[in-house]
């Protein structure tokens, strides 16, 4: 009797002090996307998944690099990461002092995907990321809220600084942090972002380079913040790194039996 109470008490103490799960659960959703899956299709369905609550930190990436030395900046094959890969770290396996809790940047798509796969995860797809990025503090879709849009835009207008703040900004509706306001983020299908801002491809000789139905046209042209995300991603090759490009990982949520 006594011992049961003690166990219960201990359980409560553990629950009270345990940090929130590393990943937030995102329910399945169908939503209006800025990047339609096909011409004339405005919405996309995203299955339930779990997403890291914060971008991956320098400390977490350092642990990965120590356990997988092929991803050290002095060992990585150039084909997987350009010469700026982790160049801002103190040495090949140690982040700059004080930057342990800041998001890791200057990582290539290959490196980001390798990190996620080592955690049994993968990068989120663009549509998964976009779904979570549409959330405001209290609503799943804040995209029609002009105040919210303005808050986000003001971040994009801020000049980039050399020192990134630590992760852990205010959570959004899903409990996911730093989706806006800290870094750009790699997505799994970054190579799929064949985008034409208008229908220029029609009658264009370059259209031949696209097979199938041609490049998709973007919707929601007033959503500048999202357009900038896509423009940035589509300008990056998978081996490129950038001072402001980080990432987080996702896992598909197992289908309940």
């Amino acid at each position: 009797m006594k011992s049961t109470a003690l166990v219960l008490l201990m359980g409560a103490a553990v629950a009270a002090t345990a940090p929130p799960a590393q990943r937030a659960g995102i329910p399945a959703a169908t939503f209006a996307t800025i990047l339609p899956p096909a011409p004339g299709v405005a919405t996309v369905h995203v299955d339930a998944f779990e997403l890291d609550r914060t971008p991956v930190t320098n400390a977490a990436f350092a642990a990965f690099v120590r356990s997988t030395p092929a991803w050290r900046r002095d060992r990585v094959a150039r084909v997987f990461a350009d010469e700026r890969y982790l160049a801002h770290w103190r040495d090949a396996s140690t982040p700059a002092p004080g930057a342990e809790r800041a998001p890791v940047t200057q990582v290539s798509w290959f490196a980001a995907q390798a990190y996620c796969e080592a955690q049994g995860a993968r990068l989120p797809t663009w549509h998964e990321w976009e779904l979570v990025a549409a959330a405001g503090p209290d609503t799943a879709d804040a995209r029609s809220d002009p105040d919210w849009l303005q808050t986000i835009l003001s971040w994009y207008a801020r000049p980039a600084s050399d020192t990134l703040p630590d992760v852990g900004g205010a959570p959004n509706y899903y409990g996911v942090r730093d989706v806006h306001g800290l870094v750009w983020e790699w997505v799994l299908d970054a190579q799929s972002m064949m985008v034409s801002g208008d229908n220029r491809e029609q009658g264009d000789p370059d259209a031949l380079r696209f097979c199938g139905s041609g490049a998709v046209t973007m919707e929601q042209k007033e959503n500048y913040a999202m357009l900038m995300r896509i423009a940035t991603l589509s300008s990056m090759r998978a081996s490129y790194t950038s001072k402001s490009m980080g990432f987080r990982c996702a896992v598909p949520r197992p289908v309940p039996r």
Partner: protein
């Protein structure tokens, strides 16, 4: 099931650096150990034509539009080089539609298109490798809800050690810059 798939993907990826061929140049695409299967069922890597200059491209077999043009473009490139170069040159076409382009389906394409499989390989890639291959070859693709694909076309000329010597997005004719590099 999905998580097991990703676990397998993780293992496959982790095998890459561990098994990396340190003898390959740092910029060699052969640093990536892809699991490919050719139209005759033979398992091999991206380096199936190691030691040869090779034209590498990605495609999908059920494409009716510009994909037949890829084969025509590769043939035009072969025809445009000197016989001595042509004898060494190889072609590797990798499908980004592993679900439909099984090795058997690729064999059928090879037959109907009269492809000389002594010098050309049509390859099926493991699903976990497709995105990475596309990234390495600078091919953009996305699957449409009806199962078809949007994709860009890229023909990459690799050196005998797997380094990118030239690449082109042009279709329908042999690319001049690529031909120049082949002649060197």
């Amino acid at each position: 099931m999905m998580s097991r798939l990703f676990a397998i993907a993780a293992l496959a990826w982790l095998a890459v650096p561990a098994a990396a061929r340190d003898s390959d140049p740092p910029g060699s695409l052969y640093r990536f150990e892809a699991k490919l299967t050719s139209q005759d069922g033979a398992a091999h890597g991206l380096d199936v034509y190691r030691g040869h200059p090779v034209l590498v491209t990605m495609f999908y077999g059920s494409c009716q539009a510009s994909c037949p043009l890829i084969i025509d473009t590769l043939r035009a490139t072969e025809r445009a080089v000197a016989p001595k170069v042509r004898a060494r040159l190889r072609v590797l076409m990798i499908s980004f539609d592993p679900a439909r382009d099984t090795p058997a389906a690729l064999g059928e394409i090879a037959r109907t298109r009269h492809i000389d499989t002594a010098r050309w390989t049509l390859a099926h890639a493991e699903p976990a490798d497709v995105r990475t291959l596309a990234a390495l070859l600078d091919v953009q693709y996305r699957q449409l809800p009806n199962g078809d694909f949007n994709h860009s076309t890229s023909i990459v000329l690799l050196s005998p050690a797997g380094e990118t010597l030239a690449s082109t997005h042009a279709l329908g004719h042999a690319d001049e810059a690529l031909l120049k590099r082949l002649a060197q």
